[in-house]
Amino acid sequence: MKRMVSPLVLLGPALAWLVVFLVFPLLLIFAFSFFQRGSFGQIVYDPTLKNYLRLFNPTVLRVFLHSLRLAAFVTFIALLLGYPTAYFIANQPARWKNTLLVLVILPFWTSYLIRTYAWIVLLNREGVLSRLLISLGLSREPISFLYNDTAILIGLLYGYLPFMVLPLYSAIERLNPEIREASFDLGATPFQTFFRITLPLTLRGVVTGAIFVFVPSLGNFFVPELLGGGQRFMIGNMINNQFLKARDWPYGSAMAFGVMAIVFILLLFQAWITRRTEQS
């Protein structure tokens, strides 16, 4: 078939689409990030580095660092919850494996917005949890569990946990069980075997899963908005505000490229880990 269908026919439509509606828009906001906001929110084509310098003002920096910390924490908890689960699924008999895996993925394919809403119902002042505590006599008055970092953390964790389990699962599943048995046979305890054999060999899955959780957590804006009540800002909210409220698109674009820089560094790290584990 090689010579018989032109590559242009196969790759052409999709690549053209991506160039026009992905590459060009990204280049456009990259360009925007070097211009200035006019007094009516329009873009004044007057080159400047001001927008990037403004990323380093204390308020913005604090939001960046706070978002990074929160996303890192979400990732860490997702790893703690996800690894044993992936390990458990991978070691089930074949007919169960698939079902259990589908059950993990299924929520991911349903509306994240609605799943976030479910947590509002659970955590708000008049919500299920608050009432439960009152009826158990643990609290005398309604308590809101919303509008704090913990609520955001739960919301992000809830949304992105499947992203952690899937790559971990495929890494663990690929492991030859005899490698573990060999380790036991050579006298290592299960604990030693896990940290010296299983974990290093599934490191790629860990890194992939971590990136898949960390990146979208960092950029999410509706979870902080809905569960954080707009009180607790993350990067996504700032970008959102610059575009839809303050109408300072150049500044918002610069923030976006701040995020992209972080993502890029993480992907380089992942590529490095992948290369390293492939070599050994």
Binding site: M4, L18, I105, T110, Y112, I114, Y117, A118, V121, I239
Partner: protein, 256 residues
């Protein structure tokens, strides 16, 4: 084994964490009282309420239009792309490029598209949402179809050519029927994603034509109302149903 018991317990908790909030919503949607805490009897009252809500029905229609349009285009382009990537251009840079929309935070993609449409002075509408959704749906369809193609025996195409069917005919009689399950699975996934997608739609939608997620967002921001529970139940069930069908077509593997 003790560790097996422990793993089973841990995993059960994770599954409870994933499903309890959803199940709670579903149960509440049938609660006549509308309150999260007081059971007023089983009722379809809130579902009936939804049918009265014209804005909501409109938004649902908008969502279906966007999802259908973006699915059609991305199914065609994504399938071709998968074939191209699988057999012509095995190229890591190209791979990375194609799957870029899956990695970029959606807010970045959203503002880029908003800027772009504004820049070319294209009015925001259902069309701009559809165009935007195609950008990432191509990647999803291509990923699924590619998995299917990797099991495809290329000599089948050669056999067809050899028996006298020219390339285009070979594609429609041999290649397409055999990768069709992958195309269907990919399309169902694309449809579901498009139906539920909020962030990019939020930025690229015109003011008068919200999609369902956008409408839900505005409803949710102003607090919990019982009819949202019913709506949420419908949307969640529809997505789950589509995904389970996609799964039957051998679909969702091949992502990681």
């Amino acid at each position: 084994m003790r560790s097996q018991t422990w793993l089973r317990f841990h995993s059960s908790l994770v599954y409870i964490f994933l499903y309890a909030p959803i199940l709670m919503l579903i149960v509440l949607s049938f609660n006549r009282s509308g309150l999260p805490t007081a059971w007023g009897g089983f009722s379809l009252y809130w579902y009936a309420e939804l049918l009265q809500n014209r804005a909501l029905l409109n938004a649902a229609l908008n969502s279906l239009l966007v999802a259908s349009g973006s699915t059609l285009v991305s199914a065609a382009f994504g399938t071709l792309l998968a074939m191209g990537l699988e057999r012509i251009a095995r190229n890591l840079v190209l791979d990375a490029f194609v799957f870029l929309p899956m990695i970029i935070p959606d807010i970045v993609l959203a503002i880029a598209l908003l800027s772009f449409f504004t820049f070319i002075e294209m009015p925001l509408s259902l069309l701009t949402i559809t165009i935007s959704h195609i950008v990432f749906n191509i990647a999803f369809v291509a990923a699924i179809v590619r998995t299917r193609l990797s099991y495809f025996d290329n000599t089948l195409e050669e056999a067809s050519l050899d028996l006298g069917a020219p390339p285009l005919k070979t594609f429609f009689k041999i290649t397409l029927p055999l990768i069709l399950p992958g195309v269907i699975a990919g399309s169902l996934l694309a449809f579901t994603i498009s139906l539920d997608e909020f962030v990019i739609a939020f930025f690229t939608a015109g003011p008068a034509q919200p999609t369902l997620p956008i409408l839900i967002y505005s409803m949710v921001r102003f607090g919990v109302t019982p009819d949202v529970n019913a709506l949420a139940t419908i949307v969640l069930s529809l997505s789950a149903l589509l995904i389970l069908i996609a799964q039957r077509f051998g679909g969702t593997e091949g992502f990681f």
